[in-house]
């Protein structure tokens, strides 16, 4: 209630200030305006910075122009797509889905635990929130691919290394998104439940989870979609799935097979995205 009241109170102010800002009447309405000299400096820094990045990234248009005909040739040589060994490809594709599903599920269980101390409105102690946030950010900052590289070294080649890679990275992202979802929940019902004298675990499971569930499930489905795409490339570092086949086909310049694999990946990713989008639409 206080939120909506604040919004309605702010609305006229926002409406009044926006046209003023656009008309450039010199009023400091949409925030502090930079003087012209500062504007020029900022523009110069941006341009020089971008030029530097282009240089560092070794952008070379000539190489692209020379390479394009060759790529076009690959497309010609890849037709018709190979139908050999489709059963193996299907198995590897299923493996990719399995890596994403198991990795996301493991991450979800851990994230559900971690989001309680990470969420401002649930944490039992403010001090606990800081290290948990650090842990989540660290896991989020390291990509599944990098984690998978480490786990291939630790547990050996194969999809299990991929599962662990996905799980660790997803734990970070999902824990953060879960915590943000929970922080966005209205305070009232939680307060009402707390004031019946019930303990924290009871309050969370009875008064918070039912209302937070659609948001949490939506986050989990989004992460699953993301992880299907991420799992595709894990095979490149030997962590199982269809990515391994992709790398083999490129290494052998076996273009018809490459085309088949790309079609399978596209079909797989699209199917999961569609399914997930539909489920999420029904959650509202």
């Amino acid at each position: 209630m206080t939120d909506t009241a604040a919004e309605t109170r702010d609305d006229p102010a926002v409406g009044a200030s926006a046209p003023g800002g656009l008309a450039d009447t010199g009023e400091p309405s949409t925030g502090p305006r930079l003087p012209r000299a500062r504007q020029a400096t900022v523009a110069l820094v941006l341009v020089v910075g971008f030029a530097l990045c282009v240089r560092l990234a070794q952008v070379d248009l000539r190489a692209l122009l020379e390479g394009l005909p060759e790529m076009a040739g690959w497309i010609g040589r890849s037709w018709p797509p190979s139908t050999q060994g489709l059963d193996l490809l299907a198995l590897r594709a299923a493996e990719t889905v399995a890596i994403a599903v198991v990795g996301t599920t493991l991450a979800m269980v851990a994230a559900l635990v971690a989001c309680v101390p990470a969420a401002r409105n649930l944490t039992p102690a403010r001090l606990l929130r800081v290290p948990v946030r650090w842990l989540l950010n660290a896991c989020r900052g390291i990509d599944s691919f990098v984690f998978a590289l480490l786990f291939v070294a630790a547990v050996g080649l194969g999809p299990f290394a991929g599962v662990l890679g996905v799980a660790f990275h997803t734990f970070g992202s999902m824990g953060k998104l879960f915590a943000e979802t929970i922080e966005g929940m209205p305070r009232g019902p939680l307060e009402a439940a707390e004031l019946t004298g019930a303990g924290r675990v009871r309050v969370v499971t009875w008064a918070l989870l039912p209302d937070a569930a659609p948001g949490l499930v939506s986050v989990a489905l989004y992460m699953l979609e993301f992880n299907i795409r991420a799992s595709v490339v894990l095979g490149v570092v030997g962590a199982g799935g269809i990515g391994q086949q992709l790398k083999n086909a490129i290494d052998l310049l076996h273009f018809p097979r490459l085309l088949t694999i790309i079609v399978i990946i596209l079909a797989m990713v699209t199917a999961v995205d569609q399914l997930s989008a539909r489920l999420r639409a029904r959650l509202a």
């Binding site: 209630m1 019902p189 009402a192």
Partner: protein, 259 residues
């Protein structure tokens, strides 16, 4: 009312400052078992602050609050939780769990009493379910037991909240502006339901209202709050134009309403 050990609620010398402004100044009153008390006053008189100090959602600067003889200010953690079980609360915004059924929300009033395994598995058991169901019946919503809370009207949601407070089986219910968001007909219905269950069960009610018109037929006693001070405390039947002026200040002649 003289403070006595038989009071359900005893507030003494309660004071609270917010920054440099005094929100509550030396507020004292006691509520007897089964008594229905309306706290009236203009916006900003300190009604909400008073309620939040009583439940210790905010800490008072001075004074004490005793519920059933126990000083709430002295309690911490688990003890405070146990003491809060004895106070039912009703909020202006109902504060129901939106996606739970009406019955599920009433069961929240039993949450602290459920055995741990029943609470975790969300299986309240037949006794508690029957109790919750009877509470819903008493506010006239028995046939909405399975309806999701956010599908009910405002008046119905507030009656679910009354049933939730009733399910706590407490001797004291605090209601902070329970009908401020409702249309007049729903407001009257909600207050009637609250008054009825209070009298049927001998529950003391302290209820803040900003519409004085609603106290007739609902409250036994009216406490008037103005600028954080009690300016009127007496039977509802004697609340007259003089009291109204004491609480709200002189009414502008053009919109004066009969008291």
């Amino acid at each position: 009312m003289t403070p006595s050990s038989s009071s359900v609620l005893q507030v003494e010398g309660l004071g609270h400052r917010y920054g440099t402004s005094t929100v509550l100044r030396d507020v004292s009153f006691a509520v007897a078992p089964g008594e229905v008390v309306a706290v009236v006053g203009p916006s900003g008189a300190g009604k909400t602050t008073l309620f939040r100090c009583i439940t210790r959602l905010i800490e008072a600067d001075h004074g004490s609050v005793r519920v059933g003889g126990r000083d709430l200010a002295a309690l911490r953690g688990r003890e405070l939780r146990l003491a809060r079980r004895d106070v039912g609360l009703i909020f202006q915004q109902y504060n129901l769990v939106r996606r739970r059924s009406a019955l599920g929300n009433v069961l929240l009033g039993r949450l602290a009493h459920l055995p741990a395994w029943r609470a975790l598995l969300q299986r309240p058991g037949p006794d508690e379910s029957a109790l919750a169901r009877s509470c819903l019946d008493q506010v006239g919503l028995g046939r909405y037991a399975g309806a999701r809370a956010d599908r009910l009207s405002g008046g119905q949601q507030q009656r679910v909240a009354i049933a939730r407070a009733l399910a706590q089986r407490s001797r004291l219910v605090l209601a902070d502006e329970p009908v401020a968001s409702l249309d007049p007909a729903s407001a009257a219905g909600v207050l009637q339901a609250l008054g009825t269950v209070a009298r049927d069960h001998g529950i003391a009610v302290v209820c803040s209202l900003h519409q004085v018109e609603l106290i007739a037929g609902f409250a036994d006693r009216v406490i008037g709050l103005r600028a954080g001070e009690v300016v009127r405390d007496g039977p509802a039947s004697t609340f007259g134009p003089g009291d109204r002026t004491a609480v709200y200040g002189p009414a502008p002649a053009t919109i004066r309403t009969p008291a």
